[in-house]
Amino acid sequence: MEPARELRTHAGTPYLRYAAGKAGGAAVSLLAVLVTSFFLFRLIPGDPVKFMTGGRPVSAAQLAAYRREFGLDLPLWQQFTDYCGKALTGDLGTSYQFRAPVIDRITEALPNTLLLTGTAFVLYTVLGIVLGTRSAWRHGRLGDRLNTGVALTLYSIPSFWLGLLLIIVFAVGVGPVPGVFPTGGMESGGKEGFAYAVDVAHHLVLPVITLVAVEYGQTLLVTRSALLDEMGSDYLTTARAKGLRDDLVRRRHAVPNALLPTVTLVFVNLGRTVAGVILVETVFSWPGLGGLFYQALSVPDLPLVQGLFFVFASAVILMNTLADLIYPLLDPRVGR
């Protein structure tokens, strides 16, 4: 009984302390993001009211009314306190250009982005880890060289260019071969239930392929490199000496020990999935957060920019914190 209690004391408390430290750090980061997002985007040159009314006959009285409506006539400190107060209650303000609550626009676009980048994330992570592991295990062979070469090539290709290429080949068709996928958008419209789901899946194929093709290389290379570092380790020789099959040595011994950098990358990518991929969303006219961010910046639609920035940053902070919390479980040396 005694040794067990001692184990709990030594193993449990440091982890909790470690986890509390990480959570505290995340909370401070979130606060910093909230403050930064307010001031940072006020450095963008441009008067939103002038931009919104550009090209229209607007009287001076109307311009003043706009400023009052959006609180732009208030001193900066007052705008800031208003912003913080509302943000704490989940109110991220009203979009200048869409005249809708920022949170509504974000919640409309967020699922679309998560569907696209989330699907791609799962696929490129699995593909990257599987191919990276295999490449490392048979490093130097033809398969490895091929895998690495293809991954590096695709990783170097601009995603919008690859997207357009896929549209030309698989959506429009080349020569006598007609295209079979939609050229863009997320749905045809007017469909419900199962037909709607199938329609969305149909629209999802090309943008997901584009994202997977461009992104999987990074995971592959990190996994391969991490595993190569482990390859000469004594414990692997020991495992083989025990008579374990090569396959098992790889999966049960080498891969788990080499996983840490990959896990970091996976969580960083997971955080990025919320931000979407602006170029791919643009090429395929995907109605997600990436496109929304671009539109917000071009005005600049300050409440929307701030809201999106806060959501993006929060996702990254959250995922990094999660990764930090998982590290000690994968490698007990972390967090001691």
């Binding site: 040159p45 441009g46 008067d47 002038k50 931009f51 009314t53 550009g54 229209r56 006959p57 607007v58 009287s59 001076a60 109307q62 311009l63 009314a65 706009y66 409506e69 250009q97 869409f98 005249r99 809708a100 626009r105 409309e108 676009a109 357009l164 549209i167 959506a171 429009v172 068709g173 007609p178 295209g179 079979v180 996928f181 050229t183 863009g184 958008g185 997320m186 749905e187 045809s188 419209g189 007017g190 469909k191 037909a195 199938v198 329609d199 899946a201 149909h202 374990l244 099959r245 090569d246 396959d247 098992l248 643009t282 090429v283 395929f284 006219s285 109605p287 496109g291 539109q295 071009s298």
Partner: protein, 615 residues
């Protein structure tokens, strides 16, 4: 023990990969077949659907808030205005009002509202609806967001009976037949609480009286409208109209090639390369129409406010009319049209593009600032800016003339034209620096520029583009913002502007507008270089015919009216529902099956081949 166990479990594996592969292939086949379904479903649709690819996202579907072209165009389809513009020459024609008449003192306008118009929920459209719409805009700042300027001069609006609308003005206003204000149903809109946030995009169908009824909307995806079979002018020929959002115009062009969309809108215009790639393609027609925009060089005439205070840092040499004229005479407009616009534009002359024939004015031969570099050089000499030993033009202070020019970073035309200007003005001894910015509005309104690329879309009624050069458009103080375009303030021009606005006789008014244009040209603050065309393309196998505006050779998208979409006739053979051919589906399925089966076989063989290794 563990080794044996693991070994043992390993031995039991040989069958598993085959099962897994088979399951994978089966699942993939199901998905592949399912993914092909939407096109089959689309092909079954019997309704004629006209799909328009648009690049701009909808800001709002409320006619009180919408300001973007795509949104106002959709509003125009949903709600009637008092008057419409003729598709031929854009003169006012009956809309919701069948007749209109000003009083002798020019301060009261009486409109007769048609009695054969109904809202899509079956209620009659009355003058009360129109009066309520205008009154709402006059009393609620938020309801005046989009179209407030139209009611700024209104004193009172009443509806004495169901078919009579009376508008009393503060001062005469010739634009009373060009009130681009959608009239909404009072019985629906009186229930709206906050006009500043109500976007009219949640509950469908939206009650309207235009040629189409809004039936669905998803932000940045699509806007769907059904034909209004009871529209007073007659039902549209297409059953449904869909605006589909394409962020990337190359993708939109690809969608047109495939037949997913019926037309790629000309806003923004197709690039010369895109237009060239579509020329001669089967079933596609490129519509290279005269545009409604002008593209100009603007000078900073010395920024100033209405209170007389000067601000900004425009080069003082530009206050000399001879210098401005010299700059413009060194611009070869023909070359710009040929090289930069690659023929998709018309050489610029007066302030209003030729498509608005009523108000189009061009300078006489003696008045014209034609391309003449030698004369430009002489003008500069006369103005006291002679070439020094280095070939630079210098003033009395000995400083060489070098101008900063504001250009839009996102507009390739600005950059290309800027290079030509550098060369042409360089030959005169004048330096040029291009300040290409994402946002030119701030330095512009602060007067911190010498020259700028300028351009406006002109409405059938020229009042607005003329008004931005009046002294009244200057900001009240340097800190204020205002509608001024270039701080131009000239009493002679102002007088002509005021007279045209108070002139109700169309012929007299047009003459005054042309005099105002002539004055603006002589002042030399603006040099209209070109009228860029509106280049768009549509599928002739989906659209048999469509009305352009102007009717003879005009544009389709962004008209001043609903003529294009209301008049469009579906092609007999057109599968306008936006799917690809069934051959495509079959080929797609077969290709998918081949790839997946191949992958399954390779996986299986690979497993078998390496099984020994692994064991």
């Amino acid at each position: 023990m563990s080794t044996q166990d693991q070994h043992g479990r390993g031995r039991s594996r040989p069958d598993r990969p085959r099962h897994r592969s088979a399951r994978l292939v089966a699942a993939a086949l199901t998905v592949s077949a399912a993914l092909a379904l939407p096109q089959q479903a689309e092909a079954k649709e019997s309704d004629a659907v006209l799909t328009v690819a648009v690049a701009q996202s909808v800001d709002s579907l409320s006619p009180f808030l919408a300001t973007r072209l795509v949104s106002t165009s959709i509003n125009r389809l949903m709600y009637e205005y008092l008057t419409d513009y003729d598709a031929g020459d854009a003169h006012p024609v009956p809309g919701l009002a069948t007749r209109w008449k000003p009083s002798a003192d020019k301060l009261t306008w009486t409109y007769t509202i048609r009695s054969d118009a109904t809202w899509s929920d079956g209620r009659k459209v009355t003058a009360e609806d129109a009066a309520w719409t205008f009154n709402k805009m006059m009393t609620d700042d938020k309801a005046a967001t989009a179209n407030g300027s139209f009611v700024a001069n209104f004193r009172k609006v009443t509806a004495p009976d169901a078919t009579t609308l009376v508008i009393e003005l503060k001062k005469p206003q010739a634009t009373m037949t060009a009130l681009d204000v959608p009239i909404v149903p009072e019985h629906v809109w009186e229930k709206v609480g906050d006009f500043g946030t109500f976007n009219n995009d949640k509950s469908f169908p939206v009650v309207g009286d235009g040629p189409f009824v809004l039936t669905g909307y998803k932000p940045d995806s699509y806007v769907r409208l059904k034909a209004n079979k009871n529209f007073w002018r007659g039902a549209p020929k297409f059953d449904e109209l869909v605006f589909r959002y394409y962020k990337d115009q190359d993708a939109a062009v690809a969608a047109l090639r495939k037949g997913e969309v019926s037309i790629v809108a000309g806003s923004p215009s197709l690039t010369p390369a895109q237009a060239a790639s579509l020329q001669g393609v089967k079933d596609i027609k490129v519509n290279d129409a005269p545009g409604r925009r002008f593209y100009a060089i603007a000078t900073n005439p010395g920024a100033r406010a209405r209170n007389g205070q000067k601000f900004g840092d425009g080069d003082p040499s530009l206050l000399d009319e001879r210098v401005r004229h010299a700059l413009f005479m060194a611009v070869d407009r023909r070359t710009l049209v040929d090289k930069v616009f690659q023929g998709h534009a018309v050489e610029g002359q007066g302030y209003i593009p030729p498509r608005f024939s009523t108000y189009f004015w061009k300078p006489s031969a003696t008045q014209e600032l034609a391309y003449d570099p030698a004369k430009a050089a002489r003008l500069l000499d006369q103005a006291g800016y002679r070439e020094n030993a280095d070939g630079k033009r210098v003033g009395k202070d000995g400083k060489p003339l070098t101008y900063r020019m504001l250009c839009h970073a996102t507009d390739p035309n600005d950059k290309a034209v800027g290079q030509y200007l550098k060369e042409w003005w360089g030959k005169l001894g004048i330096g040029l620096t291009l300040d290409c910015l994402d946002n030119v509005t701030d330095p512009w309104l602060a007067g911190r520029y010498d020259l700028a690329f300028d351009g406006w879309s002109v409405n059938p009624d020229p009042d607005f583009v003329l008004s931005i050069h009046t002294c009244a458009a200057l900001p009240a103080t340097p800190k204020d913002t205002a509608a001024t375009d270039n701080f131009i303030c000239d009493r002679t021009y102002d007088d002509l502007y005021a007279r045209q606005l108070a002139e109700y006789d169309p012929v007299e008014r047009a003459a005054l507008v042309k005099q105002a244009e002539s004055r603006l040209y002589d002042l030399g603050y603006m040099n209209v270089m070109a009228y860029p065309n509106a280049v768009e393309a549509y599928r002739t196998d989906q659209i048999a015919s469509i009305t352009t505006m102007p009717r003879k050779a005009g544009n389709i998208y962004g008209q001043d009216g609903y003529w294009s979409w209301w008049s469009a006739v579906p092609a007999d053979s057109g599968d306008s529902s936006g799917g690809s051919s069934s051959t495509g589906v079959v080929v797609g399925i077969v290709a998918g099956v081949v790839v997946l089966v191949g992958a399954g076989v390779v996986l299986g063989l690979r497993r078998r081949a390496t099984a020994e290794d692994r064991e």
